[in-house]
Symmetry: C2
Subunit: 656 residues, 2 copies
Amino acid sequence: MYMIQFLPHEKKIEVQDGEYLIRAALEAGVHINASCGGEGVCGKCRVLIENGDVGEGISEKLSEEDIKKGYRLACKARVKSDLVVRIPVESAIDRSVLNMPATPRKTARISQMNMDDLKEKGLFVPPVEKKYLELPVPTAQDNLPDVTRLVSFLKLNHGEHGLIVDLPVIRKIPEVIRKKDFKITATLVRPVHDERKSQIVNVEAGDTTDKNYAIAIDVGTTTIYGQLIDLNTGESISEYGDFNGQISYGEDVITRIMYAEKHNGLEKIHQVVIETINRIIDRIVKKADIDRDEISTITLAGNTTMTQLLLKINPRYIRRAPYVPASTMYAPIRAVTLGIELGDHAFALVYPAISSYVGGDIVAGVMGSGMYLSEELTLYLDIGTNAEIVIGNKDWFACAACSAGPAFEGGGIQFGMRAAKGAIEDFSIDPVTLEPMIMTIGNVRPKGICGSGLIIMVAIMFEMGIISSSGKFDRDIDTPRIRENDGLCEYVLAWADETQIDRDLVLTEIDIDNLIRAKGAIYSGCQTLLDEVGMSINDIDRIFLAGGFGSYVDLEKAMTIGLLPEIDPEKVTFIGNGSLMGAKMSSLTNRIRKDVVQVTRMMTNFELSETPSFMDHYVSALFLPHTDINQFPRLKARLAQRREMKKQLENTNSQI
Amino acid sequence: MYMIQFLPHEKKIEVQDGEYLIRAALEAGVHINASCGGEGVCGKCRVLIENGDVGEGISEKLSEEDIKKGYRLACKARVKSDLVVRIPVESAIDRSVLNMPATPRKTARISQMNMDDLKEKGLFVPPVEKKYLELPVPTAQDNLPDVTRLVSFLKLNHGEHGLIVDLPVIRKIPEVIRKKDFKITATLVRPVHDERKSQIVNVEAGDTTDKNYAIAIDVGTTTIYGQLIDLNTGESISEYGDFNGQISYGEDVITRIMYAEKHNGLEKIHQVVIETINRIIDRIVKKADIDRDEISTITLAGNTTMTQLLLKINPRYIRRAPYVPASTMYAPIRAVTLGIELGDHAFALVYPAISSYVGGDIVAGVMGSGMYLSEELTLYLDIGTNAEIVIGNKDWFACAACSAGPAFEGGGIQFGMRAAKGAIEDFSIDPVTLEPMIMTIGNVRPKGICGSGLIIMVAIMFEMGIISSSGKFDRDIDTPRIRENDGLCEYVLAWADETQIDRDLVLTEIDIDNLIRAKGAIYSGCQTLLDEVGMSINDIDRIFLAGGFGSYVDLEKAMTIGLLPEIDPEKVTFIGNGSLMGAKMSSLTNRIRKDVVQVTRMMTNFELSETPSFMDHYVSALFLPHTDINQFPRLKARLAQRREMKKQLENTNSQI
């Protein structure tokens, strides 16, 4: 780690060896003009290295003289030692705003359950166990049937009573048992319900106890992730994600359902998701270089529609009032019967759901995050096209879902795109010149805006007064970056020649409006649910943020626009892909599989469309951050301070 | 019913209207010479109708004068009134033997469990029940998942707790439930074990409770029988039997196992038996004119090899010492997974076995006959190529199997054949002329001898002294019917021109020897098993005879040759196809499905090959009826009486 000091700002930050200087500046809240996303072609991000070594950062955009003096392009220069870096400023005015308070930057703590934790809490009850057995060899006096020999031995020597052995296993036993002279390894699946029986799902010749794997799958509407888990160590040993092949049949769950309603549509769309899952399994198995037959169990979590399509259950009534799913609980099933290419013996567990719009992915997150075991009152929020909200602790749960629309995934935004290479993911603006600093994923010239970038730019421009609380640009500002188009304003993030798309890349008032609607839905969803359970945001001990979106979002910015309620950022934990985490955790411990039934029973589902206060909350939330600024006291204070400083600045300027 | 009086024998018998006169004579123990099996071509069975009316019986074999006098062919004449019939006898000698005691004729009582019996005993616990339900229609306030709606309703209104619903049913529910406005019929399968849960296996729109069927299948090595059972009435509503398609791959279980060991052999031979079962199901469903989807359950019983082939489990180790089956217990399984063409929801139950050679067919017989509920000590005997023997009552069971060889099915007998058209099934002999009276199945000219016919002819000829206790013909008898061939004697049952085969149809000493070996194996098996449990035949309260063979066998004749131990014939009950009966009974009442686990645990299997006394018993049994005639006191008395009468006759004759 090296210490970087930025001048004249007097701001310091510690970063890792090799980090790009421009990223360090962003992290420190230091603005450097930059239009090309970090590709190094705009040449605007000249900085002077006053002390220390940087790697690279030399470009034809710099004159030889500049290079000799120590100028480098911040977007290309990599930190190689402690540094003192001076940012060129154009005027005294520029200098004077340096002391303005930077909007705090804060992404959430990342947390996942781990095995040690589980063992400590007595939660490590592996759902699949292997036992190595040296059975007595049959004789004329002892010619018990093979299955009886195995079952009796397990009963007498391992205290395993009432074991179930299904036909596919019985078919294997006679040959396998004799391959290594009646020395075998039996794979036992523990029942989810205590009153049920354990089941022998596989037998292998010799001792294979060291090879015992599980697969966890998050079946997302857009992306499917898989993890291969070593059940002996609890480690994830390989991982792979791929687009859900169903995307060709519709972007969102509603269009998928409509496709499934067509003739043969369900069969087709079911096959497609199974194909994606098989492709992912193939990858993670090859990556880890294990034998597919050593996988004993697969756990899948997805939203209610994805789950029904996965299981080939007509999802028709999910999208029609009163929004009835076929089922929310599914018994374990042999994976092969779904078309999943695993051994005959591998069982598939599918996470139970709550309702048509609070699915198994959310339940998985609630289970995997461990919030169901905690005293602390937790708000669990999974943000995607739909946002699912769960509030509760070990004693009770309430949940709701709302449609955020696709803004957070780039939908409905003129230059919106998914969080992929070329998407603007970070942003800063010079408060005087209003020149932007844009950073893209992959450090290439920008081609669009992703959700987290959108939030950051709207938050910053709102806090600087460039955008009003109703989401309109200040028309009095004199800069070519802000221009009017058919009565609507837009801000030019990058000029055509700085982009990959040969057009000016802009943020429009329509984009801002869509973002406000999306964040308004989520915020009012949280408010409504809190109301329904008679609580306020102050009662919440912590927030768990789930979903791919959550991993990038700047917490303070999300609170600034009113997407999240204002809460101590320390109380916010990003749990990543909650669905995948839950699927993994329940592969590791049967306790979760048992508890989940109880949790789903405890959970009260609120249909927001049926809750009268929801619409009031929603309308109030259609502002930045909200009609009631008092709900955002920290922001209110920052805005007041900024107004004060601005007034002082204007006075100073008029005195000069 | 009409009364027939035979003269000069002074024997009377009551028979049904339309019965053939020759059958009535056989039944009464009256010998009438007859060589053509009842086809009416030998013309030997001339009888004089002294009183009463017969239908038919006129033939070109009778002169016009004879016809006028009232002569008829007994094999063609049908009883139409009470009759007095005189059998022409050739001499005083003939006449004098008329008073010799006839070997008693006695086939066993036929008995099957019935529904009233079951209900009376509290055993009628249908394993599959249909319930008609009028569910509440979902609303915005009550939008429970469809499955939850169904399960909760059954819980609240029918006291059904913890119901299991599998994926194939879940897939049907959303559409079916809405077809008749949430009025549906649910099919519930009861668990075999009390601690397990009931399962919803089907849903149908509207009220279909009146349509609830089961199928029972006996998977025999040679023949497969199926019955369709109405679960509302307990009646069998159609039935069909067909040869097991596996016959082309081998006649007996050993050759089938050998075929299954070949490459793809198991797959092939499995498919073939499933095809036969599907053909039978197709027939019985069409015969009864029901919808295949209304069948909720199928129960199959077969010997251990047939069961493993049916379930596609390698039977390799069944035929190799120490004769280990793969399993003897099988969990219920969806019929479709075996390839059986029933609805997705139909469950298949396979009867558990005891050992490699005491299979599910025998267990089915033990269960279906109800012997496992009785105080009475019962000997259950199923005779085929293999004979299985069970001894026990409600408290304990012992069982064993022995290889009888194929003699009872016509195998190893020069003119042996299955019990089919043209097989000699009944026999009598003139004690003086030694002319035979032969009756064939279908009343056609003979083409062979079936098992029951073989027993009758050997028994009669043994009792008349024509065959010795070591199975040899008396070479001193002067008749063209008995002739020597390479040192071995044979008896001509029918001359070439009286047969369908254009050869003399004979019974050879080798045939007799094979029969003795077969009956010896069975008798000694019973003896050995009785010895092992410390009992004698006198302790046995009753005998249950199962198997196709048992239905035709004359009990007294079977005792005469020493196939069965000598016991009061009233104590013998023929239960027919015990395997099919058991399969049917367990379709009707779950009690049997529950009890069978206990019964198989109670049953001690004896491997006769491992029991030292078996060989001694076997050698002693290789005589007619046995080396120890004292084990057959009734026969001993008859033989003594016959010897006495013969002596008197000879004295009389020498006096004449």
